[in-house]
């Protein structure tokens, strides 16, 4: 029996599909990064922006392009791709396609940290870093550590059921603490908290992006080792073990890297919801479910997706901006429901 060309079981198999996915989705992400800075509520002239004869302080077009839009688009690319990739890893780790990067409490921990810093911290800068991102990073680390300690026992595979329960419980507990802190806050602080919780890609300069890069790169580097093991893990932990996967190690690496990626993204731009679930599912509809393809495709598509959502946020009610988290939620919420209905 001959295999039809282009079929999944053909020799072209994974290598060829991976190459075309990387080229296609890579081009999409690159196009988003290059084109999105040109669009916005104010029209800018590229010729003027790149005109060196006008001094920068006088060149409004250049200021809008390089100070307002480019860091924002770059933040969208980083946050979108880390959240989407972390979503893929989390879904495979938990063996549950409906898991998100926020399922295990990382983002709520980050939120609690941010809320505490907004409410009680004086706004002291440490080097180029501000107190809110640092506090949210610390909150994320504390939350992951608690979940990890609860769900692991030395020498045994992690119980994904305990992991889920611990994550859900911690989410609820930290949310209660956030409400309590909010109750104690004044109106300005409460408003800042709400704005932070909605997510915002407008980080103001390149410095926060550079600061988050080490964490992002470490987690993406670990992701690169995981895909084939994640395929096997998502079929079943025991079955993966008998196929040669070090289940305990894979689970720990997946948990650590996904938590780190999520923590970096959330401390940079706040908890922007639905990217981590909508993007992986859309990508699976297009390229199948093999993690060696889904993971890089989601990272690239996630960048384009969040840049696109932010473009809508910037322009749809211009000159008023809609928080990008609201846009992703308005697009993602109905999509999530559609997925649920479709599954049952």
């Amino acid at each position: 029996m001959s295999v039809p060309p282009g079929s999944l079981s053909g020799e072209r198999g994974i290598g060829g599909r991976l190459a075309s996915v990387l080229i296609g989705y890579g081009a999409l992400a690159l196009a988003a990064c290059l084109l999105a800075p040109l669009a916005g509520s104010t029209h800018i002239s590229l010729a003027r922006a790149f005109d060196r004869s006008i001094p920068f302080p006088d060149n409004v077009d250049a200021q809008i392009l390089f100070v307002a839009r480019m860091p924002r688009v770059l933040t969208g690319a980083i946050v979108g791709s880390t959240l989407a990739a972390a979503g893929v890893v989390m879904q495979a780790l938990l063996g549950n396609p409906l898991a998100t990067p926020f399922t295990l409490g990382v983002s709520t921990g980050a939120a609690l940290g941010a809320v505490l810093a907004i409410t009680f911290g004086t706004s002291f800068p440490i080097g180029t870093l501000a107190s809110v991102p640092l506090a949210s990073l610390a909150g994320a680390v504390v939350a992951s550590a608690i979940v990890y300690v609860l769900a692991t026992r030395p020498g045994r595979p992690i119980s994904t059921m305990v992991l889920l329960l611990a994550g859900v419980t911690l989410n609820a507990f930290f949310s209660a603490l956030i409400l309590f802190v909010q109750y104690a806050a004044d109106f300005t602080q409460a408003y800042r908290t709400i704005r932070w919780l909605m997510g915002d890609l407008d980080v103001g300069s390149f410095a926060p992006i550079v600061a988050s890069l080490p964490l992002v790169l470490v987690s993406l580097g670990i992701f690169a080792f995981l895909p084939r093991s994640l395929n096997l893990l998502s079929v079943g932990a025991d079955s993966a073990a008998t196929r040669g996967v070090d289940v305990g190690l894979t689970q720990r690496l997946a948990f650590f890297s996904a938590s780190l990626a999520t923590a970096a993204a959330v401390s940079l731009a706040g908890p922007i919801g639905f990217v981590g679930i909508v993007v992986p599912h859309l990508v699976r509809l297009m390229v199948g479910v093999d993690h060696r393809i889904v993971l890089p495709a989601s990272a690239l598509f996630g960048a384009a997706f969040l840049i696109g959502c932010d473009l809508i946020a910037r322009t749809v009610l211009a000159p008023v901006e809609v928080p990008v988290g609201v846009v992703t939620a308005m697009l993602g919420g109905p999509f999530f429901l559609w997925l649920l209905v479709r599954r049952s």
Binding site: S7, A92, R228, D238, T242
Partner: protein, 259 residues
Amino acid sequence: MLRAESVSFGYDGGFTLSDASVDIAAGSLTGLLGPNGCGKTTLLKLLSGVLRPRSGRVMLGDRVLSSMTRRELARHVASVPQETHPAFDYTVMEMVLMGRHPHLSAFQLEGPADFEIARQALDATGTRHLADRNYMTLSGGEKQRVVIASALAQSTEVLLLDEPTASLDLGYQLDVASLLARLNRERNVTMVLATHDLNLVASLCERLVVMRDGRILAAGPTGDVLTGETVLQLYDVDADVQFHQRAGHLTVIPVRRMS
């Protein structure tokens, strides 16, 4: 070839398996019998190295299992669980190619040789025509055959099966039984088969190991071990065990529950 030497295992204090010794000869097809919770699955997991014994040791040839890496072990021993429910809807070919995992390095993709092995495994299990289908759209019998194909693609000498026919209807049970017999005969795969299906082991296995309460009660040729007395001991069931002319093997007819 695969030998458990007085292995014991238990979670948190109690023992689910104590002082069990079995010797699986190369090329043999051994049945593992016993009531629910007697330790069959634990023994299989010890033999596959998924669990490490609390005392005693498991030997593969002249090597101790606990000294081997998971990868190394997976090139010698494959397992088929009772049921397989992937979280994502992989294609059949993708499921079968996962069996090649222990033969590939970290970033290596499956090559033509791996595809050839996977196709042979599909052929051997009669599932070649399903290669491009999604696993979740298959019937129970097709799924089990695909999982067996995935284990075959691991190219191991030993195959451990945990109640592979438990959720299948009679037709598929016989399909899987004749598939296992053929693989054992033609590919010389050493098999251990844990099951509650007495007639299946009677038709398939030359040797039996029977367990109760975490201990091994008896082991030996099927004709010697599979008796009315054994069935009574294992399940408290009065049964007739007799040779069936048309089937060509022993058959077990349960008559009544004793307790």
